[in-house]
């Protein structure tokens, strides 16, 4: 079987400006692959290209056997690519339960949905206690849980987690990384996009470093930890 996600030579950007100039990466089955890079490196643009939100100008993006380069976002989601978006983006005027229900929107089998509710509530018992609360009235940490839970409701084949530690306290960041590791151990392939180098490389199998729209380093997480390019990408050194 082909790798879950293969990105080949993708060029993308907004209006006239190219943010990505030919990015290639591969996410392997069952692994956590991380994408590191400082602000403005093009991480978000790459994620938007994969998800069909800002389609790639050239290059190819394949998910399993499907070419998704020019697919619409909802079709890509229906194939099993789920995103836990940056900033959590829970639906503020929906209850916790409704948020989770939207997460399972592509699933029509009631029994399957019921089972997934049970799975998500097992990982986040807090969400079960708060099932009827409006998501907009919850704390940042609880919204982070909800956002991850909503992502799991689709039973993703590939889970893209975009900057999960942004704006959370160190304690919650640690908790978040633990949860992502656990989800991966349950068999979900993960693409983790982060600025937080050390903690990300602690849980990832492989990684890519993006700087100014190009991949400047790639390899096993253990090797990337001591890599000069990684340091350079972050500190401009």
């Amino acid at each position: 079987m082909s790798e879950p996600l293969v990105v080949e030579n993708v060029v993308s950007g907004y209006d006239q400006a190219d943010v990505l100039s030919g990015v290639s990466l591969t996410v392997s089955e069952g692994q956590i692959t991380c994408l590191l890079g400082s602000n403005g490196a093009g991480k978000t643009t790459l994620i938007r290209a994969i998800l069909g939100l800002t389609p790639a100008r050239s290059g190819r993006i394949c998910f399993g056997d499907h070419d998704i380069t020019h697919q619409s976002t909802h079709r890509i989601a229906a194939l099993g690519v789920t995103c836990i978006p940056e900033g959590r983006r829970v639906f503020p005027r929906m209850s916790v339960e409704e948020n989770l229900r939207v997460g399972a929107y592509t699933e029509s089998d009631r029994e399957a949905i019921k089972k997934r509710f049970a799975e998500v509530f097992a990982i986040f018992p807090r969400l079960k206690e708060r099932a009827d609360q409006l998501a907009g009235t919850m704390s940042g940490g609880e919204q982070a849980m909800l956002s991850i839970g909503r992502g799991l409701m689709s039973a993703p084949k590939l889970l893209i987690v975009d900057e999960p530690s942004l704006g959370l306290s160190p304690l919650l960041v640690k908790e978040n990384f633990r949860v992502i590791k656990r989800i991966n151990e349950l068999g979900v392939t993960v693409l983790l996009v982060e600025q937080n180098v050390r903690q990300t490389l602690d849980i990832a199998h492989r990684g890519y470093v993006l700087a100014q729209g190009r991949i400047v380093a790639e390899g096993d997480a253990v090797h990337l930890r001591d890599n000069e390019e990684v340091r350079a990408a972050y500190f401009g050194g």
Partner: protein, 305 residues
Amino acid sequence: MDLGFIAQYLLNGIVLGVIYAMVAVGFTLFFGVLDVIKFSHGDVVMAGAFTALATYAGLELLGLGYPTFAAVFITLAGIAAMALLGALLAKFLILPLRNAPPLNTLLITLMFGLALRESVRLFYPNGSNPKPFPQLLPDLSLSLGNLELRFDSVLLIIVGLGAIIGVHMLIERSRIGLAIRAVAQDPETARLMGINFERVVLATFGLGSALAALAGVTNGLYYSEVNFGMGLLLGVIGFSAAVVGGLGSLYGAIIGGFLFAALQTIGAVWFSVPAYKDVFAFACIIALMAWKPTGLLAAKSAERV
């Protein structure tokens, strides 16, 4: 003034309130999912009424003008035609302008409404004059002192309220309703969850326009008359009701509709000249907007942290 008299005004006010609420719900739905004001909405109300009228003429030609059957059939015809028109309008006029300034959408729908209105005037047989709307509902009434309890009014109230409650249930309980709310709150995240954005927008515009058609037919049956310009005032009233209630809020639109009808009714009782009732109602709306600029039930802009 006695009790029967007051009850009569109350009953008339409720019929108007139902009509206004149906129009206002459309405005609030469109604004909710796409942040647009669709100014042709009032003319869709009118077109719905004229579609029903034309369908009735067709039924009569075929010798099928049995009142009860015809009432149901022409209402459904108007609803179906306007639902389709609403969806087409969304697909070909409103969605293509999604990335343009909102003012452009406002302008283009205003023009579309004008074109629709003038087409009915020019192309509907004798369209520039008011047309009698067939009285298809049983002419039964109960006299209680000064109150004449007309059967058709009661029926129109029941059907209208039923439709509003139905739309509310659809939005709150169904799968498509969940998708509509998701798109209204965060369109991009909704797409990430596998929701087909375009289909949700078309469904919403179809739904709102269907409700507008029902408002138009109700209006025709209640006043026994329709004219090509009827959508103008109904559109402005529906829009005001939605804004006063808080654009984007379903309850707000319903409350706004009944509030406007109540103000008109008070105006009608208060002033001996009937035309003052609209002046009074709109003046009150202006005062209300000054007091609560974001509407009575403004959808709280929940913080996206």
